[in-house]
Structure formats: C-alpha cells, structure tokens
C-alpha cells in the first residue's frame, strides 16, 4: 500500500498538538487545585488547633510530650494522585489512622492495610509489600505530614 503523504502527517500532527495545548491550558487550573486544596485542609486543621483556647492549654500541659493530643490531617501526593489521612494521637501514641480521601489512579485496596501497620509501628514508615509504590509513598507522606503537625515545637 502507498505510504501516507508526509505533508498530511505534518498537518494532522500540528492540529493534534494544537488541541493538546488547548487541553493542557484549559485544565491548568484544575491540575493546580488538587494539591492546593489538600494544603488548605491541613493548614486549616493546624490553625484551628493553635487558635482555639484549649489548644494553648493543651500545649502548656504537654510540654514534655513529643506530640500534641488530638486529630491531625495530612496529605501526600505524587503524579499518580493524592491521599488524605486523619491521625488521632493521645499521650504520644498513635491511636487511630483513617484514610479520609483517596484520589489515586490505583485501587484503594492497595493501601487498606497500611493504617493498621502505622498503629503497629507507631510511625509513618510502612512496608511496600504489594508493589503499590506510588500509593504507599503518598500514604507515608500523608501520615508524616499529620505527625509533623502534631509535633510539639
């Protein structure tokens, strides 16, 4: 069969590149919104904690503790999506970890056992046993961010 004229290939490729560019710029605001929203949520949590009256009391009464008591949110994201978590701490112990938002392009079942692993290990360093590197990394980052917020200054 006769090969396609290269001029047509060039013309069509240019048109496709133009549509791609239009799509890229149209969705730029949507692409930027996701991580920013996650940050706003975690910052709100942080601000609420430091602004309310009890917050100060808690900090004063827990000067010798590594973490403040309470529930803290954190988020982790990479090129494959984002994960949001809520970590509850009491008396320097991680009492509960919940995945509050799962927006990865992979299955949520990949990370379903990770909260229990955090409770067991009492830190964010979970094992990547399933090969789900990106989801595990995002989860670790989210838990670490929550723990960083809970840390006493």
């Amino acid at each position: 069969m006769k090969k396609v004229d290269k001029k047509w290939v060039l013309l069509c490729s240019t048109a496709i590149a133009a549509v791609y560019s239009a799509g890229y710029y149209t969705t730029e605001s949507q692409a930027a919104v996701q991580p920013i929203q996650q940050h706003i949520v975690s910052n709100l949590q942080k601000n609420n904690d430091s602004l309310n009256g009890t917050g100060k009391k808690v900090v004063n009464s827990q000067k010798n503790k590594l973490y403040k008591d309470g529930t803290f949110t954190g988020s982790g994201w990479n090129r494959r999506g984002s994960i949001g978590v809520q970590v509850t701490i009491k008396n320097d112990k991680i009492k509960d970890v919940e995945i509050s938002d799962f927006a990865m392009h992979y299955s949520e079942s990949d990370v379903v056992g990770l909260p229990d692993e955090v409770l067991k290990k009492q830190n964010a360093q979970v094992m990547n046993v399933s090969g789900a590197t990106y989801s595990t990394q995002a989860f670790q980052d989210a838990v670490q961010e929550a723990l960083d917020q809970a840390r006493n200054a």
Binding site: M1, K3, E28, H105, Y134
Partner: protein, 280 residues
C-alpha cells in the same frame, strides 16, 4: 537473517526501540529492577510459548514473544514482585495462542495480560518505561521512536485519528469540568497515551491495514478509552479502548473473509455451469 536485516523489519524496529527505552528508563530511575523484570517476563513468555507450540505442533514467533515480555516489564511498576511479572507474561502468551482468528491473535497479547493482571493480581502499572517518572522533556524519545515505528508499519492514519479524537474528547471534558481530564494531559498519563498509541495500537496482526479502517479503528479506540476514563478513572482505559478497536478489526477481517469465500463460490459455480454448457 543477519542482525542488520532483522533490525530493519517492523519487529526488529520495535524490539530495538523498546530495549533502548528499558535502558534509558533504568538509567533515569537509577534502578535495575526493571531490567530484571524484563528478563523474567521474556524468559517466562519464551517457556510458555515453546511448550504450547510443542504441544500443538505450531510455529512460534520469537520476536513477538520478546516484544510482549518487553511491554509487560516497561508498563508494570519495577517494584512489582517477580511472580506477578511472570503471571502476567503467562496470561499474555496464552491469549496470543488461544484468542485467535486464522492463527493470528485477535487482541494485543500484552494488553490482555496487563489488563487481566490488574484484576487478578491488583498490579500497579506505572508505565515507567514510557518515562512517566522522568522529566517531561524525555517525551521526545517517545515521539522520535514512535514516529519511526508508525512510519515503518504504515499506521499514521490510525495513530493520528486516535490521538486527535482522544485529545478533542479530553478537551471537552476539561471545558465541561467532567472527570479528571487534567491528569490525562500530564505526565505520567500523557506518556502512557503516547507509548500506547505508537507501540501497542499499531500492532499489525491486531489492527486493520486499509486506511479507512485504520481511521475508524483509531476513533473507536479513543472514544471507548475516554468513556472508560471519564466514568471509572483508573488505568484500564487505554487497554479497554484497544480491545474495542481489536474487536472491530476482527469483525472486519471476518466479514471480508466471508465475502471472499462467497465470491469464490459464485466464481466456481459460474465456471462449472459454463463448462457444462460447453460440453452440451
């Protein structure tokens, strides 16, 4: 066949390009696990292919077996356990031999293995071999390699109609704020789309040869792929889109084959009648 001659064949082109991608991506990610997975996938694919062909007394295409193994190792995350890589390769080779029409595979074998591995093994597909984790400028490697392959197998109408329809639909999704079009325009998803359209969509046995059919194949694959992405998200959309195209190609081949048989029958009947009349 000498190496110089082999490398100029379509399968030689694809194999050389995929091997070079495996090397570039391994250097870029500073990890040799992908190469290890590549060797496992190719070896397992060879073993299953050899055993099946021996049992059924069939000829085996070694090039396509290597290509299937390479696709699997470049698309599955390099942290995937070796047993899962092996399992995916086995499924792919079995589909190559079992889902056939006139001894040619109906569906792209690597795509079947990779799609089923998502449901069976819950594999995380990173498309690392399409440079999804490397800086955006590395996409240039995909475009250069993809252009050479597409030109060699004469599939420009298919690739261009696929990419054109795919991006127009995603643009509409982005404008209407439906689904997650933003991700699809950006790495690693754009890398996956380009790699897929240049190397998997253009597989000669599972796609049509005529230009008109190539255009329809590309449009069908893109529409179904974007629909799956818009409704379900995830990473299955490219493979499902390809299968819809593969089914279209299969139906085309079947109908044209039936038409050929019908024409031959009519011709035979006509010849028999003419010879009978001549005898009288």
């Amino acid at each position: 066949m000498t190496i110089q001659k082999w490398i100029k064949t379509p399968k030689g082109y694809v194999t050389a390009t995929l091997v070079s991608y495996l090397i570039i991506a391994s250097i870029g990610s500073k990890n040799i696990m992908g190469v290890k997975n590549g060797i496992i996938a190719i070896c397992l694919a060879f073993v299953v292919d050899f055993l099946y062909c021996r049992m059924k007394n069939r000829k085996s295409s070694k090039d396509s077996t290597v290509i299937t193994g390479l696709f699997i190792s470049l698309i599955l995350s390099f942290t995937t356990p070796w047993q899962i890589v092996a399992g995916t390769a086995v499924i792919a080779i079995l589909s190559k031999h079992l889902l056939v029409y006139k001894k040619k595979p109906i569906f792209n074998p690597a795509a079947v293995g990779l799609l089923l591995s998502i449901f069976i093994f819950q594999t995380g597909q990173s498309w690392w071999g399409a440079f999804g984790d490397l800086p955006a400028w590395t996409i240039i490697f995909l475009v250069i390699g993809g252009y050479l392959i597409t030109d060699r197998v004469n599939k420009f109408p298919q690739v261009l109609s696929f990419l054109g329809t795919f991006f127009v639909l995603l643009l509409l999704m982005g404008m209407l704020n439906v689904g997650n079009a933003a991700d699809a325009f950006r790495p690693p998803f754009i890398n996956a789309t380009l790699f897929f359209s240049f190397f998997m969509l253009t597989d000669p046995p599972t796609s049509p040869a005529k230009y008109k059919n190539q255009v329809l194949f590309g449009i069908l694959s893109a529409v179904s792929g974007v629909l799956v992405y818009g409704i379900f998200g995830g990473l299955t959309y490219l493979f499902i889109g390809l299968f819809i195209g593969n089914i279209y190609s299969y139906l085309q081949k079947r109908s044209s084959s039936k038409a050929t048989v019908l024409t031959q029958n009519v011709k035979t009947q006509y010849q028999t009648r003419t010879s009978r009349n001549a005898c009288r």
